[in-house]
């Protein structure tokens, strides 16, 4: 069996499961945010439910339009707060403790290797970086799980992606996943589990692993996963609130497809509007003048990402008339960046540093684009209107490319800025 099949079997109380089989599993964590949880809570009440299945395992994070961007958003966040109080939820995160959910849950040890996690947010697939099965669902599925502690799934086929070779100095997990999506398309892994493996993955730190699994959904994947190893153990030790279970795929596990990539041939990637699969190597972007840069999000708002951006911004200034927004994804990352002196670098360069929020990534608030404006963002989607006006444009890239672009006022390689 694959690691995905093993985790699902263990949570279905079965010895083995086969792709295509419909199973009922118990979930270790059920997650909602300020956009999706209000609908789930309404469904929860409509069903006549009184208590959540486990106050430790229903997690609510108001992060999308929080800190409250307007009255309607404030009302939605209030729905979460009131529900958390009523149900005495152990893990509700108020602004001040709140972080972008998919950076926050691994950091706080709320998700551990071997878990099954569902979240009413498509980027819930992020936790595959820890060796957990996690996937996004809608609010109604979340409501059902909040009541029963269970969810139904069709066991996905798995696709294996083997990364060999040594990536170049400015190539990180973001480039590997953008490259992959560029190769297979936005539905290239539709309904499937994407398993990332190979020597180059073994060498990746946890932040990059989370970045890669985060964007599995952008290839249509049900989940992304990386088998846990010493890097995983090093990350989880001292954080995990529950006992991790470490699964790996069997040597004879079956895959719907196996793709091999040589990282030495992968250059920093930029996904052009309006699909994450519309990728080009940095050397082929041409002259694209920009108005805004966003460094943050559940994809690239972790400490490693901020360090990479700071390395490029250090001693440089953001180009005139360009806004560069840096959004550490959690309070812990914010504090760490402050301690390491990264804020000095960002402020000296002329960046705006924000409290954690999903904000501009989905065109919510804190950095909306006007008609015709262009942004380079370390986020995950560049759909029409994603960051603001339907005639604005988003280009997806890694944090170093985003930082270099801020300095030069056009999409640029870090090699042009750092000697």
């Amino acid at each position: 069996m694959t690691i995905t099949e093993k985790i699902l079997a263990a949570h279905a109380g079965a010895d083995r499961v086969e792709p295509g089989q419909i199973i009922n599993v118990w979930v270790d964590v059920a997650l909602g945010n300020d956009i999706t949880a209000p609908i789930a809570i309404r469904e929860f009440r409509k069903a006549g439910a009184e208590r959540v299945f486990d106050r430790e395992r229903v997690v609510l994070v108001p992060d999308h339009f929080a800190p409250n961007k307007d009255i309607a958003s404030a009302e939605q966040c209030k729905v979460l707060r009131e529900f958390a109080k009523e149900q005495d939820l152990a893990h509700y995160f108020e602004t001040g403790e709140m972080g972008v959910e998919h950076a926050l849950l691994p950091e706080q040890g709320l998700v551990v290797p071997g878990d099954v996690v569902i979240g009413a947010d498509s980027h819930t697939c992020t936790y595959g970086g820890l060796g957990a099965f996690s996937t996004g669902v809608g609010s109604t599925d979340l409501a059902a799980a909040m009541i029963t502690g269970e969810a139904w799934f069709k066991v996905p086929e798995s696709m294996k992606f083997v990364f060999r070779g040594e990536p170049g100095p400015w190539v990180d997990g973001k480039d590997l996943i953008l490259y992959t999506i560029g190769r297979i398309g936005v539905d290239g892994a539709l309904y499937r589990a994407m398993e990332f493996t190979g020597p180059a993955i073994d060498r990746l730190g946890m932040d990059d692993r989370l970045t890669m699994c985060n964007m599995a959904i952008e290839a249509g994947g049900k989940s992304g996963i990386i088998a846990p190893d010493d890097v995983t153990r090093g990350y989880v030790d001292g954080r995990a609130l529950r006992e991790p279970v470490y699964y790996t795929s069997d040597p004879d596990a079956r895959y719907a497809a196996v793709l091999e990539f040589d990282c030495a041939e992968i250059r920093p990637q930029v996904a052009f509007p309006h699909l994450p699969s519309n990728t080009r190597p940095i050397d082929e972007v041409g002259e694209v003048v920009i108005d805004q840069v966003v460094i943050g999000s559940c994809t690239n708002g972790r400490i490693t990402d901020l360090r990479r951006a700071a390395r490029v911004l250090e001693g440089n200034r953001v180009a005139r008339y360009v806004r560069c927004l840096v959004i550490p994804a959690t309070q812990e990352i914010y504090r760490q960046a402050l301690r390491e002196g990264l804020f000095e670098v960002f402020l000296d360069a002329g960046c705006a540093v924000s409290t954690p929020t999903c904000g501009p990534c989905l065109g919510g608030h804190m950095g909306i684009l006007a008609r015709g404006e262009r942004a380079v963002a370390t986020t995950n989607r560049n759909f029409v209107g994603r960051m603001g006006h339907p005639e604005s444009e988003v280009y997806l890239a890694n944090p170093a490319v985003a930082a270099a672009s801020a300095v030069l006022g056009r999409i640029a390689s870090p090699e042009e800025v750092v000697s």
């Binding site: 419909i22 956009i35 999706t36 209000p38 609908i39 309404r42 469904e43 409509k46 069903a47 006549g48 999308h64 339009f65 961007k69 307007d70 309607a72 958003s73 939605q76 979240g119 009413a120 947010d121 498509s122 819930t124 996004g136 669902v137 809608g138 609010s139 109604t140 599925d141 409501a143 059902a144 009541i147 029963t148 269970e150 139904w152 069709k154 936005v186 539905d187 539709l190 309904y191 959904i217 249509g220 049900k222 699909l275 989905l362 065109g363 919510g364 989607r381 759909f383 029409v384 209107g385 994603r386 603001g388 339907p390």
Partner: protein
């Protein structure tokens, strides 16, 4: 059940931001969401479509976010059903949970044009283009999903199981 309406044709990879832009997600009121249905794909869709009309799209309809607001907006706008060669996974699941009929058909897209009159037999999965006298077939709905629909959606299914 037979659904009959005029077709609105969209391209491939229609994402949930096009179906219902995040700038309107500070509410989950179906009537509010319906006002902005498909706004970033076709700003005139909402004002020109009539209840009972049908959305036809190319592959991977509903990709992107998990927002249930997407099928809610489509359903509340009065769209009878969505036909596409494939749907993004979370959208597919949400549509069933919401009771929005969707049909996977590999050949309907090529044989139906914007403005055609189409009839869908939800029971048999037969899609008829009344304008061009052509017929297509939709993928059968998996038995488990049929059970969900028969029970009246996911929440009713759970209530029925008594858990």
């Amino acid at each position: 059940m037979k659904l009959r309406g005029t077709v609105w044709k969209f391209g491939a990879d229609v994402d949930t931001d096009a179906i219902i832009p995040a700038r309107y997600l500070n509410t989950s009121d179906p009537a509010e969401l319906a006002k902005h249905c498909m706004e970033d794909a076709d700003p005139e869709f909402v004002t020109r479509m009539r209840p009972g009309d049908i959305i036809l799209a190319d592959k991977n309809f509903g990709c992107g976010s998990s927002r249930e607001h997407a099928p809610i907006a489509i359903k509340a706008a009065g769209v009878a059903c969505v036909i596409a060669p494939s749907f993004a996974r979370i959208f597919y699941r949400n549509a069933f949970n919401m009771g929005l009929p969707i049909f996977e058909s590999s050949d309907a897209y090529a044989g139906i044009e914007q403005g055609d009159e189409v009839e869908v037999d939800a029971g048999t999965g037969v899609i008829r283009n009344l304008t061009r006298a052509a017929e297509f077939r939709a993928e059968p709905i998996p038995p488990f999903m049929q059970q969900l629909i028969a029970d009246g959606g996911l929440m009713a299914h759970i209530a029925k199981r008594g858990s």
